[in-house]
Amino acid sequence: MQKIEAVNDFVIKFANINGSGSASANELLARAILRMGVPVSPRNIFPSNIQGLPTWFEVRVTEHGYLGRRGGVDLMVAMNPQSWDQDVREIDPGGYLFYDSSKPLPRSKFRDDIHLLAMPLTEICNETYSDARERQLFRNIIYVGALAWLLDVDPAEIEKLFGEQFRGKEKLLDSNIQALALGREYAREHLKPIALKVERRDRVGERIFVDGNSAAALGCIYGGAMVCAWYPITPSSSVAEAFERYAQKLRIDPATGARRYTIVQAEDELASIGMVIGAGWNGARAFTATSGPGISLMSEFIGLAYFAEIPAVLINVQRGGPSTGMPTRTQQADLIACAYASHGDTRHVLLFPEDPYECFEMSAQALDLAERLQTPVFVMTDLDIGMNQRLCRPFAWDDSREYDRGKVMTREALDSGADFGRYLDVDGDGIPYRTYPGTHPTKGGYFTRGTTKNAYAVYSEAGADYVYNVQRLKKKFETAKSLVPLPVLTAARYPARFAAIFYGSTSPAMHEALDALADQGIYINALRVCAFPFQDEIAEFVAAHSKVFVLEQNCDGQLATMLVNEAGVNPASLISIRHYDGTPITARFITQEIAERVSRLNVRPLREDMVA
């Protein structure tokens, strides 16, 4: 029988029951491999449930540093009878099945083309532990011990991780080390070695291992957020929770112990965005974190902030929609909902981070942009980036960097006779000046409203005043183009007639696919869009290629639609490729989709190219 052989390049998938403490054990194995200098990319595939439903944890071991989801499974750790059949089916031929053999299973429950690794885990646990919770938790550690032996993962690395985790809790440390050894010894005595191996390398370097939600929260800390208002919603809740955790350490006045931040868990998303807008109006940097359903609820307020020109930052950790949709699965399906959120003619600034590093960067930048542009700014992350730990560049901060507080008219400026019109375009960039409430006893006060007003914030139903305002808002959106991050080009090794546009969490899978395609002789220029509004470079990029594949993780090709509508690109030159089953897009999918289309285009190049 064929045997999958691989060094530092394979996928382990753990099938567990949620609420059993498995995720932290599985993560432990992933971290140990990372400590051996070999990049890993773990993904937690979990249900919208607390206890009892199937949950999976994938660990991709990838010496090349391909951090996207690969697809396929080389080693299945099947710990959940509920999902057994599906889990066994998923293993690639020649792969391995590690399972609990305490209870005999009929032959029909297995496959002939996979290798079995049987370990009577329940039996071992029942013999060793009397407490039910211990049996469950140490069961996970025992299988980690066995897997570490099978894969040649250095047990010293795992013990070191235990040492960090249980510092000062010696009893816990010892019992975990014992459980690990128990698994290792069993494997050595009873299991046949396998051909998936981890070998020490130096491929991790300075990179850090962190989830995007924590990174976004830290970006808000560094970006100077003073107010956070939020409402719990998967997959964004951990942004606010991480903000609070970091703030408790990093935002305390050393002299008094008082807090230099506030955080409010609001009664719903309407209230959370209301608080952010109130704080922004009053001169504080404020943000909320939410997901699709929250954006829907916030829409009326988003329109108010747009029209009354109030800074606000929204971190949208996207999940599968519409409606409650797939709350624990990933998608990039809120682009249109966010770009045009609210009734009337609205347009909002969107940023698309590709990994936790950019979640940090762009969240901090969003706080600057929101105040500079006096408008809502969306950080469009997703569950795949937000809730999984990802290897990325270390966070960096330039201590000479100052916050851009935008155009704020001070008491001194008002006293020196400056003409203050809250909605007056003084500088020709569409951005007016504002005053903070309480600035001056007699000057600079105004009444903010979502209703039409003239340039001096006086209520007006005159069409000319309305048109002036709307035109100025359009000009302001033009100005935004020069402030948001530029697209990032990855040029092919040879001149290419085909191109690809992608964004956000598609990035690692895309880069892997570009390599795979190049290996097949298919060369693609790739452009990662980092923000909306779209800069002219994007339209020029499209115009320079006969066909451009647009890769997205939604069903309707939302970015492609926006490129046509907002960047004025020729729709005939775009080929939309969409992945939207809730799992993260894979390099295998991208490679196959592009290769297939390229071969078709190359067979009949004339007609297709005529259109382009």
Binding site: R207, M226, A258, R259, G274, M275, E300, E402, G445
Partner: protein, 351 residues
């Protein structure tokens, strides 16, 4: 309403308060509400209360929702910043503003549609949090801007101008505020300025969530026979539990009171709320009794007004959260950004 603009020039003999402002300095734009609207009387009472309290007008932030009542912040304190937000959501915007700067005085102006219907959730939750604000409900039982539909505070059996009879039970915002944890709860009547102005002064000085439900008849759509929110009806059924003198710490106590008629409540900031009892058995520091009292009298068809409840130990949200003394919106990168050295440590822990 009037089209005659008031002259900006003030008479030199106009009295000034301790911070050097005349009463006229607390006025705003000319009201565009109907002549005789109760809301205009409330605006006048706010002007009077702020002037008497020696509040600098620009240190007040006015926030409102949507509706006739929510338009009124344009008609008082013209040099203050105001924010006419979205329907029913003023409380959250006010909360955010208050989080940003704890030094300003926050006035939330709302109506019965804005607070009891679309905004009931935010009304309830803002009371729970102890936001330091004065929340005014200009309550007329009717939707004015959309021309006469019942609101959720309309009494059961009350008749609309078109003759419909309201079949739904009313929401009593005073009772709700008491349940939800507001620490200053009062009811007033736009037609009784002598009662309303001291209530406003005490509410503004109160360090916590203060709410005043102000009956404010709608002259256009709810002032007819059969309405329970008309001037005549409210006058006939008004049952004031107390008369209130609000004293700042520097005020001298001059009035004479008979024995047993007086309650003094000293608040956190040293201000004293002095109440002359009209009902011998009414204790405004007893929340449970206040709830029962309001309900008992409602059953008799009486509108209980006055200061219904005050918690002298009220503590505001910033105190609960232990926020720094300086307004957050004044902090700079030096206070907010932990810097690259701290980030290096964070990076190291993530390897």
């Amino acid at each position: 309403m009037t089209y005659i603009a008031k002259p900006r020039l003030h008479h030199p003999t106009l009295a000034k308060n301790r911070v050097g402002y005349t009463r006229r300095d607390y006025e705003g734009k000319i009201s565009t509400l109907c002549a005789g609207c109760g809301h205009d009387s409330i605006s006048a009472a706010i002007i009077q209360a702020c002037w008497e309290l020696d509040v600098e007008p620009h240190r007040v932030a006015k926030l409102s929702g949507i509706g006739c009542s929510s338009k009124t912040p344009d008609y008082f304190l013209g040099n203050s910043h105001g924010f006419n937000t979205v329907h029913g959501r003023m409380p959250s915007v006010l909360t955010g503003a208050y989080l940003a700067n704890r030094e300003l005085i926050y006035l939330g102006v709302s109506g019965d549609g804005d607070s009891a219907s679309i905004g009931l959730g935010q009304f309830a939750h803002v009371m729970r949090r102890g936001v330091n604000m004065t929340y005014l409900v200009e309550n007329n039982g009717v939707y004015g801007l959309t021309k006469g539909q019942f609101s959720a505070t309309a009494d059961k059996g009350s008749k609309s101008k078109k003759g419909q009879v309201n079949a739904d039970a009313p929401i009593d915002l005073v009772s709700l505020a008491l349940v939800m944890g507001a620490t200053f709860v009062a009811r007033g009547f736009s037609g009784d300025k002598a009662q309303l102005v001291p209530l406003l002064r005490a509410a503004i000085a109160h360090q916590g969530a203060a709410v005043i439900d102000i009956l404010s008849p709608c002259i256009a759509f709810n002032n007819h026979a059969g309405s329970t929110k008309s001037y005549d009806y409210v006058r006939a059924h008004n049952e004031a539990v107390n008369r209130l003198d609000f004293l700042t710490p520097r005020d001298e106590i001059t009035a004479e009171y008979g024995e047993g008629q007086l309650i003094e409540v000293r608040q956190h900031d040293g201000s004293i709320v002095r109440l002359r009892k009209l009902h011998a058995d009414y204790d405004p520091t007893d929340r449970i009794r206040a709830m029962a009292y309001v309900q008992e009298h409602a059953r008799l068809g009486e509108l209980v007004t006055g200061l219904l409840y005050v918690d002298p130990e009220a503590c505001d949200l910033h105190a609960q959260m232990n926020t720094v003394e300086a307004p957050l919106n004044r902090l700079g990168a030096a206070e907010l950004c932990p810097g690259s050295a701290a980030l290096e440590k964070i990076n190291a822990a993530l390897r």
